[in-house]
């Protein structure tokens, strides 16, 4: 997927995409929310948002109800690349799972979820 991004001159890292992915589902959420959604700690999110902001893809704005919070909102530039990115994502999934039986994918998901729980 990173290679697809690079080839298309999207100038977007997978990590940045993973943040945009959640904002495309729900815009204007806090950094903390994004931490939970993407399984990252707060410092990592601060820097990811820093870089996304530098790239002109998101904007930070203070929450009116809780002055500690930054609400992260998508710019037009970010909205413009949503469909392209979604396309690359589903292409990649298709390529990755070619020739794998659905039932086996399900088993795999269950196993990995269990491992995640076991180590949490």
């Amino acid at each position: 997927m990173q290679k697809k991004f690079n080839t298309a001159d999207l100038n977007l890292t997978i990590e940045q995409w993973s943040v945009l992915y959640h904002l495309w589902k729900e815009d204007g959420i806090s950094q903390q929310d994004l931490c939970q959604a993407t399984f990252r700690d707060k410092p990592s999110m601060t820097r990811l948002v820093d870089n996304l902001e530098k790239a002109g893809l998101v904007k930070r704005s203070a929450s009116k109800t809780d002055r500690r919070k930054n609400l992260i909102t998508l710019t037009e530039k970010a909205k413009a690349i949503q469909d392209t990115c979604h396309g690359f994502a589903s292409e990649t999934v298709d390529e990755a799972l070619a020739g794998v039986r659905d039932a086996d994918i399900e088993v795999c998901k269950v196993v990995l979820k269990q491992v995640y729980e076991n180590l949490k």
Copy 2:
């Protein structure tokens, strides 16, 4: 596993461990060999070996048959922690796979291998 290393004051990263892991199997191999074994590129290995050398766990020495090559050899310090590390590794695997059926683990491995091949 990283947490186990930290708790035991081993001062070892998982990445460094992954290099030692292969050296414990076969000592005195080149950085290139380690690249292949650990799926890393050359610059990553240069720095991993740098840090392992700083930590007094490996030593670089010039190959006599090919002056381009560094042969990486384990120090006594590294040999001394082999059993401890192996213990932590198998403990971690046991914890991770608790309650997962063997057959499902096998399916999972096959699926992931296929995905790896598909994306290679």
